[in-house]
């Protein structure tokens, strides 16, 4: 495979919309850190971040926090959606369990409907399953990611086992499945929850464990000194799971004689202390601490005595990141790679015993600390690998349309490529679109129609087919290409068509290109539509489209010119047509025709500078498009539609044509002389020539494209990452 086969010539900006009930700033809680981290990762991937906060945290429900300033500064946009539901927003379940949308606020839907109608987002990340209804508002083109944070199915049962107060969101597996199925990709915070989600849904589930690096710490002054007591500790926010676990741990801790005899102190920090009560001389309840750094610096070992909980223990990750030795129970270390037996203890008693052992065995403490650092290293790698998987999954899931062309579509003012650029732009409104370019030259500046399009070079002049094949392989592995538009010509066209069909089920041929038009003739009994061929749908419908959907930018000043005279545009004329043009020029005296060449012969390409020469001349009141090149006719007709100028297109082979005499009588024109006699009045011609809207034909194309996109099995495409459609 040639590494040079695919070079990015132009990158497309990408936008991510984040909806979260949790602020990203300040990062003082585990879930806020997680939200921030995922946004930060997407930023690194080149996404703009547009953050929507639906505040469900007590501080934000009370007032707009100072952190709003930080969020505005950090993200590309930040908006708050005010709640319209009655407080408390985190209401208890009406039934036994919460239904998945029980906390849904219709005002979020109103906001999202408005937003998605006006702005496109490549990616929509929704935090928490109870916000998942938001995913239904995103269009087909947007990749929908559900950042689950915590498992909520079975939470009520877990709290009952802990004898804890039933609070927060609790639901059933069937309800949680509804949320998962709304997404394209589910992010689980640990492997065990990823397995659980995967058992409920066929969506792609990716485990991205939380990990946050901390700056290297200096060693604690007492470290290694066996004469001072071992300092162990725990930090936790105020929630029923933390409270229930710490109550159980303290009950065990306080009841043990070996603890009393050991040189050991246990500090508990964080708001969890508000619901704890102890008079044990070796335990201190510190409450909320101002500095996490100082708290961790003060400890020899961090304990995470947790059983029966959900989600990832951010506190465990934090302790590992600070380089601390960690003693944990199975559940407290779940999601982190355990490399010491003290990482996966099975009971509160075993946790206490481990602390006692460490208090009197400092070499063991050093060993645990070293092993915990290995665990930290592995956790960091798992997070990085998780995010890498996520990035790849997003690309795979995102449906893409690939335009493959040998025309310099990025060139503005080139009559040959204007239609292709507008076609490509139409596709960007439906799906992410990229151009695989096989020609020479590179874009110097992005043209406005293609701002959202990534352009990659697929060609290599020395071995064009090999390099195109190799580039195609790479694209097919990386992206979910749902449709290919092929606009190439020459001897390479049939081979490229073969390659395209081997990589993608839907290949649309640009029948303006003669090699592809010839192929079409061999494959379908239908007459070749003028501009494109849809192989799978509407095989019995003859559809043609205007050559230009709207006025090209460089024509902006042309309308201001006063319309005068007429213009005969040569559209692939044969010798009879050339003679005919002379007859028209001589015979039509009232609107003196001028002549301009668009295509010199029936199969000749368009003159590259046709637009420049057209714009340099007068704006006519009437176009004659003369010759056998249907594409050139179409381009002239499109210009006529845009400027409301009648365009009479024909060739000698089309004669006779029906016109009107001066007094409105129908007349068949058999010769150019007849036409010169009867076609000199633009007003009269304007009365009979058909008129079209500028997007005629393209609206059908777009409707069908949307249908195809809707029916495409994105998940299947996503899982077939090693070569789609083959």
């Amino acid at each position: 495979m040639q590494n040079s086969a695919m070079r990015v010539l132009q990158r497309a900006p990408r936008k991510a919309l984040i909806l979260s009930p949790v602020a990203s700033h300040p990062q003082d809680f585990g879930n806020r850190r997680r939200v921030y981290q995922t946004c930060e990762f997407l930023c690194q991937q080149g996404y703009e971040i547009h953050f929507l906060l639906y505040p469900m945290e007590p501080d934000w429900m009370a007032r707009v926090q100072d952190a709003a300033r930080d969020m505005r500064r950090e993200w590309d946009s930040f908006q708050v959606i005010p709640a319209s539901r009655p407080f408390p927003l985190q209401s208890p379940a009406i039934g036994e369990h919460h239904t998945i949308d029980e906390w849904w606020d219709p005002t979020i839907g109103t906001h999202l409907s408005w937003l998605f109608e006006r702005e496109h987002f490549d990616l929509f990340v929704v935090n928490y399953v109870f916000m998942s209804k938001a995913l239904e508002y995103a269009g087909l083109r947007t990749v929908k990611v559900l950042e689950a944070h915590d498992r909520f199915a079975g939470r009520k049962e877990l709290l009952l086992r802990l004898h804890a107060r039933i609070e927060s969101f609790y639901t059933t597996e069937s309800e949680e499945k509804i949320a998962l199925d709304r997404s394209d990709i589910v992010i689980a915070i640990k492997e065990s929850e990823a397995e659980f989600y995967a058992s409920l849904t066929d969506r792609e589930v990716i485990s991205v464990p939380f990990w946050q690096d901390q700056p290297p710490r200096s060693r604690r002054p007492m470290e290694g000194n066996a004469d001072v007591p071992l300092r162990a500790g725990f930090i936790g926010a105020l929630n029923v799971v933390n409270v229930a676990n710490m109550e159980a741990f303290l009950a065990e801790f306080e009841s043990r004689h070996d603890i009393a005899a050991a040189p050991l102190l246990f500090d508990i920090a964080g708001e969890v202390c508000e619901f704890l009560d102890t008079r044990h001389p070796q335990v201190r309840l510190l409450g909320r601490v101002e500095s996490l750094d100082e708290f961790y610096d003060s400890l020899d070992v961090v304990a995470v005595p947790m059983t029966l909980s959900t989600g990832l223990k951010i506190k465990t990750g934090e302790a590992l990141a600070f380089g601390k030795a960690v003693v944990a129970m199975d559940d407290g270390f779940d999601g982190f790679p355990a490399v010491d037996e003290f990482h996966t203890l099975d009971s509160f008693a075993a946790t206490c015993a481990a602390l006692v052992a460490l208090a009197s065995n400092r070499p063991r403490l050093a060993k645990l600390e070293w092993r915990s650092r290995i665990s930290a290293l592995l956790a960091r790698r798992r997070k990085e690998a998780g995010y890498r998987k996520l990035a790849a999954a997003i690309l795979r899931v995102e449906p893409k349309i690939l335009f493959v062309t040998d025309l310099p579509v990025f060139e503005e003012g080139n009559a040959q490529v204007e239609r292709l650029a507008q076609w490509c732009q139409l596709c960007t409104g439906v799906a992410a679109t990229m151009i695989g370019y096989l020609g020479e030259g590179v874009p110097t500046a992005p043209r406005p129609e293609l701002l959202e399009v990534e352009i990659v070079a697929m060609g290599d002049d020395s071995a064009p087919q090999d390099s195109a094949n190799s580039a195609w392989d790479k694209l097919a592995r990386r992206y979910n290409i749902i449709e290919v538009v092929l606009s190439v010509d020459g001897s390479l066209a049939p081979q490229l068509l073969q390659i395209a069909r081997s990589h993608c089920l839907r290949v649309i041929l640009d029948t303006w290109r003669s090699a592809l038009a010839a192929t079409t003739l061999t494959e379908t009994a239908l007459p070749v539509p003028d501009y494109w061929q849809d192989w799978e749908q509407g095989t019995d419908v003859l559809v043609s489209a205007t050559a230009l959907r709207y006025r090209p930018r460089l024509f902006e000043g042309w309308r201001a010119k006063r319309a005068e005279g007429s213009l005969a545009i040569l559209c692939g004329p044969d010798s009879k047509d050339r003679n005919g043009v002379e007859i028209l020029i001589d015979g039509i005296t009232n609107i003196e025709p001028e002549a301009l060449t668009l295509a010199a012969a029936p199969d000749a390409p368009f003159e590259r500078d046709f637009f420049a020469r057209l714009l340099a001349g007068r704006r006519p009141r009437l176009f004659f498009a003369i010759g056998r090149n249907a594409a050139a006719h179409a381009l002239c007709e499109a210009i006529g539609i845009i400027f409301r100028t009648p365009c009479l297109h024909f060739s000698d082979a089309d004669l006779p044509i029906l016109l009107q005499t001066e007094d409105g009588m129908p007349v068949l024109c058999e010769t150019y002389a007849d036409i010169a006699r009867h076609a000199g009045d633009p007003e009269r011609l304007a009365e009979i020539l058909p008129i079209h809207r500028s997007d005629t034909g393209w609206n059908i194309y777009k409707e069908r494209l949307i249908d195809r996109l809707a029916s495409a099995d994105r998940r299947a495409a996503g899982s077939a990452s090693d070569g789609m459609g083959r």
Partner: protein, 187 residues
């Protein structure tokens, strides 16, 4: 309603006679051209061809731009002149039939509709609940398209009938589509 004058009948008929004469010479030229072309003469024939109003190239004259009715169906008003014409690329090695959905209205009756294939008049029948005009397109070996011309002398201008209307167009009948199918009989 404004009815088109019938004074055109004579000149129109003269035009058709001229056309019939000219057709002989042109046909000879067309056959020679086709025989010298690379296109295979045994091309397959599709089961049907549908010409949608929301298309471009088949509409040669007489049509307004496409619109959508209350049911979302695309249509085009005719009325830009007494004729409307479609040029359809198709394999003329066989006979074809056509069905054109054309709806009249209280101002324009479609009964007087006349049809010409390659400017030669053919019989056209009209009726049924679906407003279908049907006719037969004779085979024309080696030719690659058919010119279907319809003559419907009648039109109205909405703004002249209703002063509140801002529609100043000259309207006739409503074209909903053209379906072409091989006749399934001998050439």
């Amino acid at each position: 309603m404004e009815n088109s004058s019938s004074k055109d009948a004579l000149s129109f008929r003269v035009g058709l006679i001229e056309r019939a004469v000219a057709e002989q010479g042109r046909r000879l030229e067309e056959l020679m051209h086709a025989l010298s072309d690379d296109e295979p003469s045994d091309r397959r024939v599709p089961e049907k061809i549908l010409v949608e109003p929301a298309s471009v190239s088949p509409f040669a004259s007489g049509f307004h731009f496409h619109e959508h009715d209350a049911a979302g169906r695309a249509y085009r008003w005719t009325g830009r002149g007494d004729f409307f014409e479609l040029r359809v690329p198709m394999n003329r090695n066989v006979n074809w039939t056509f069905e054109m959905e054309l709806r009249g209205n209280e101002h324009v009756s479609v009964d007087p509709l006349r049809c010409f294939v390659d400017y030669i008049e053919i019989p056209v029948s009209f009726g049924g609940p679906s407003w279908l005009a049907t006719g037969r397109i004779p085979a024309k070996p080696l030719a690659t398209h058919a010119v279907l011309t319809f003559y419907l002398p009648g039109h109205f201008i909405p703004s002249k009938l209703d002063p509140k209307s801002v529609d100043h167009r000259r309207l006739s009948a409503v074209f909903y589509g053209l379906k072409l199918a091989p006749a399934g009989d001998a050439k």
